[in-house]
Symmetry: C2
Subunit: 654 residues, 2 copies
């Protein structure tokens, strides 16, 4: 994940320019530029509809039977199977442009971005040079009859003299192998040392100079998915990333069912083994990808909710679920990763993020850290959207937090063709006014087999904008397109026809699906209102609105506002940080100052229990509308929507 070049792509005849990373898919670049290209196979290269012409610059394309040699010689390519490798001028043929009105949309806001390492470093400038685990090269004086101090004293004194490090303790495994390594390496070794506020600890010794090989692995232990990165600690940059399902899923979809399973005979052991199995398979992939020797992984940092953290460490989560909902510990000591079964060298410790309560976990501490909100003067509202929504409100002086049950719509639950954001999921969608034809992007550039959370927002927002549904989320039955029809669960919209999908049936979204999405968005929105109200504030007071969650990568802020998931505030105030937990874990793995800050942040955070709050139900019911029943809070949105509706009506009349 080294920093890639930014390239400029201009689409003609619309003359829309967008900056993308080297290697970006050309269809995605068009989506980002707000340029509509017909594409119904989701980027699988099978429908052949997304032909574009490369006027200047270079793309790398896959071979396809959809284009003849002549087509290719003329510079025609299928956008969905082409990667941007230089600045480009691209012409879109008329047949790929169904409706001009799509082009009038604004390009994706630049406020919707994933924080990059440089930005993080700007946020948290101290993170580079003070990793919690350092490697120090040292050449020792050889022992002689006049200088016959013990091996450990020799090493300790040398470290003190050379690096001013007092070694109060040494890992026993180092003591065991030290004498042999010192002599075999001719007294030239690299010491791996953990630096903590309570003194330093020698945890490994390696022959020769390996100081440039100091890697960490950071892990976001999600209830559904596990994301890992391997980082170069010296340079402070991610090297490789990978993820997988948490294989505990077969024992329950959410934390409650996992806790219940953990109370069965050998249940906790089984769940612990499953998550370790998942982590091990990801680590193996990371090491394979990066070619890094696991001997040089010096430490691991994991962030997860309280239940996931406790199960990973083999701590019974029983009391998380029983009133008054007590976690085992807020601050868990670092644990030797190998002792948990993690397949890594014995000297590496796993650090976990402090948890706030049974229902506000280390993933939130990590997210707050990764977002930098704890350093800023501005009032920030941080939300992490998943099956549970977690919210943190505050600034550098105070932080309050709460969690709500958002419902599973954003993770693919309660939606007929809903699925997690993995290969085959529709992740972005645009619908052309008038024809109501969709432009879809599918994760993995394959035929679609379902729709993920962020695309649910897209599709509801689009259906609302271009006309097929009303503000209650119900279809207008009179709408004139074969894509809107009556199904088993009320009216539905066809996102992809069976022959364009991986399924034997059409992929649709129906009124029940939309209702579930409305419930979820209403819960999150009203929970934020109640949290703000609890400290005497409203959305107007929020300076910065940070959205995290794997989900948060793709969310379109404007569409989020359009459906009333997000409040109608200046879109510049929104920041999408993607996987916030992983960002925080990254920082901690690079900086022992950040490790200390994580504890400070956790102590700063006050958990507010809103589950019995009387205001919530009123707010929730008001929010069960698109965008909201209280139109005064969504004035601009309503004005825009009404403008669009009027225009669509005129177009249709024409």
């Amino acid at each position: 994940m080294k920093q890639k070049k930014k390239l400029q792509v201009t689409f003609y005849p619309e003359n829309k320019t967008v900056k993308v990373r080297e290697g970006e898919n050309l269809l995605r670049a068009a989506m980002a530029a707000g340029v509509h290209i017909n594409a119904s196979c989701g980027g699988a290269g099978t429908c052949g509809k997304c032909v574009v012409k490369i006027d200047s610059g270079e793309v790398i394309s896959q071979i396809t039977e959809k284009l003849s040699k002549e087509d290719l010689d003329e510079g025609n390519r299928l956008a969905c199977i082409s990667s941007v490798v230089s600045d480009l001028s691209v012409s879109i043929p008329v047949e790929s442009l169904l409706d001009k009105s799509v082009l009038q949309r604004k390009p994706k806001k630049s406020t919707s971005f994933i924080l990059e390492t440089e930005e993080l470093n700007k946020l948290v400038p101290k993170c580079k040079t003070d990793s919690v685990v350092v490697k120090l090269y040292i050449e020792l004086t050889k022992p002689s009859p006049d200088n016959n101090m013990s091996d450990l004293d020799r090493l300790s004194l040398a470290l003190k003299k050379r690096y001013e490090i007092d070694l109060p303790s040494t890992d026993f495994a180092v003591i065991k192998k030290m004498s042999k390594i010192l002599r075999e390496a001719d007294w030239k070794v690299t010491a791996t040392i953990v630096l903590t506020s309570r003194g330093s600890k020698l945890i490994n010794i390696q022959p020769g100079d390996t100081t440039d090989k100091n890697y960490s692995i950071v892990i976001d232990v999600g209830t559904t998915s596990v994301y890992c990165e391997i980082l170069n600690v010296c340079e402070g940059i991610p090297i490789a990333e990978s993820s997988d399902y948490n294989s505990q899923i077969s024992y329950g979809e959410d934390v409650i069912t996992r806790i219940i399973y953990s109370q069965k005979k050998d249940g906790l052991e089984t769940l612990q083994q499953r998550i370790v199995h998942t982590i091990n398979s990801i680590i193996r992939e990371l090491l394979d990808q990066s070619g890094i020797d696991k001997e040089n992984v010096t430490h691991l940092v994991a962030a997860g909710n309280t239940t996931m953290t406790q199960i990973l460490l083999g701590l019974d989560p029983k009391y998380i679920r029983e009133a008054p909902y007590i976690p085992v510990a807020n601050f868990l000591p670092p644990v030797r990763a190998a002792s948990l079964g993690i397949d890594i060298q014995n000297s590496a410790y796993l650090y976990t993020f402090p948890v706030i309560s049974s229902y506000v976990g280390g993933d939130i501490t990590s997210g707050v850290l990764g977002s930098g909100m704890f350093l800023r003067d501005e009032l920030t509202l941080y939300i992490d959207i998943g099956t549970n929504g977690e919210m943190v409100l505050g600034n550098k002086d105070w932080l309050v937090t709460t969690s709500c049950s958002a419902g599973p719509a954003f993770e693919g639950g309660g939606v007929k063709y809903g699925m997690r954001a993995t290969k085959g999921a529709i992740e972005q969608i645009r619908i052309s006014p008038g024809e109501y034809e969709p432009m879809i992007l599918v994760i993995g550039n394959v035929k679609p087999k379902g729709i993920c959370g962020s695309a649910m927002i897209d599709v509801v927002a689009e259906l609302l904008e271009v006309g097929p549904i009303d503000q209650n989320g119900k279809f207008y039955p009179e709408i004139d397109t074969p894509r809107v029809r009556e199904g088993d669960s009320g009216y539905e919209y066809v996102l992809a026809w069976a022959d364009e999908s991986q399924l034997s049936s059409d992929i649709t979204i129906n009124e029940v699906d939309i209702e579930n999405l409305i419930r979820t968005k209403a819960a999150i929105y009203s929970w934020c209102v109640v949290l703000l109200n609890n400290v005497g504030l409203t959305f107007r007071d929020v300076d910065k609105f940070i959205i995290a969650g794997g989900f948060g990568h793709y969310i379109d802020v404007e569409r989020g506002i359009n459906i009333g998931l997000l409040p109608e505030i200046d879109t510049k105030k929104f920041t999408l940080i993607g996987n916030g937990s992983l960002l925080g874990a990254r920082l901690v793995s690079l900086s022992r100052n950040m490790l200390t800050e994580a504890s400070r942040v956790a102590r700063m955070m006050t958990n507010i229990e809103l589950s019995n709050n009387k205001m919530f139900m009123d707010e929730y019911i008001s929010a069960m509308f698109l965008p909201h029943t209280d139109l005064s809070t969504f004035k601009k949105t309503m004005k825009r929507l009404e403008g669009l509706w009027e225009k669509n009506k005129q177009n249709n009349v024409k």
Copy 2:
């Protein structure tokens, strides 16, 4: 090993009184009083010669066929199978008194004693109240919706509030079981906490109040034998003791052969498993004896030489044996005992004593600590006599140390019938002038099968005093007794006839045996001279002469002087402390101040390498005589010996 009552035993007609502990063997009491009773079976109750009459008081005797009902009714008992259970008056019949001159000997010096706990406490007054591992009872407030902090925070805060203890770390195993125990014990628990200079660590949690159950196990890991005690940490007293051979013996008798074996395939693992096996069997016995639950053993302390310490911890001892003789570490961190295979609860740590060099080990640090010499103004010479002799000279301001190869004579090596001080070994001996008949005491009160180190000193001193040998250790062939005769290795003295022994042959001591003993005593004596000389001192400057070693329990200081093993200085200056290592280990297990002191003492000690010292050989050759060729250094001894010889001559002439 609770303190037993001291009882007074008076032997008639000699009117000699001795104080002994309740339960003492009556024959031993007589030996201690300097009263001769004929006894040739070594206390097995088989020869029937040691008949005594109990005039008043009570003894417990074993049944024997050697005494009739009438004998018993008259108060006659066999001394060797009787235990003192009250103050006694005992008459010794004429037939049990072979020679009156034996009685003229002084009773055993009161300077020859084993330090008792009270004395130790006087020496080291701080040891009682500040154990390195404490148990604290605490009742916690139960969690509620208004007070829902995590279990660990709840416990930590309560400990801080109640006992002013800041907990910087918690053992992970405690975190694992804490939640369950807290609830099952209704929030009333006992916390086991290690207190160190670097902060405290919670290592165990038990339901209810177990604060009065805090036990430690201390271990002297000898090359030959392993001694253990279990101590009540709260009261600072030993509860039970036991010992066994170090089962590594089958892989070599001394540290060098053990190191060589450790270099074979799986050699180190095998040796480590052997010593752990030995320790486990002793611990099992201690727990059985004392009825103590191993869950309440909170810590262990081991003292051993550098090689034994390293092997116990699984640290390769290879470089101890290769110039320039480097140990792995002088200060080894405490290790979880269970991780070494020691069968004790998982939370208990094993502390080892700091070593000074490859050849001056933690047993010496421990001995110096146990002897209290590091606290005193007086110049002390501490010697630990074994196969290697270790010496420490100094006071509270400075300590120098060296080690010498003493030869194996005191451990039963190089002596035809020599054996270790175990069951069946003659441990004390007196020889009657004129008849040259022996009075022997055998360990375990069984028939003898050999002679141990301390009895070697006795027998050589007695033979010299009563006449059969000259000052070169050679027998006068003309001596008139069947017990002196010519054998395969020159002349020899019969200690026990075959029918009085466990062997099929007579047990003898011959001129080669005596020469080996002379070599050993000469080495130790002259090594002390050289060490003193090295710092510009002589024996005259020594205020206190401490003798340690399992061996040291039995050594008779006067006889040690008579043969020239010990210098001719005021016998009041000698102190026998028995197993010095175990004493020091006891202190450390009771007092964290002593743990700190152990490190300070180790740092204070300067190791002096005397192996190439030119003075040594001259001193050694001078000392190869009984007591010494330089008679000016043994004036009083010579005067006494000459007086005895004159008297014996007259008696024999009479």
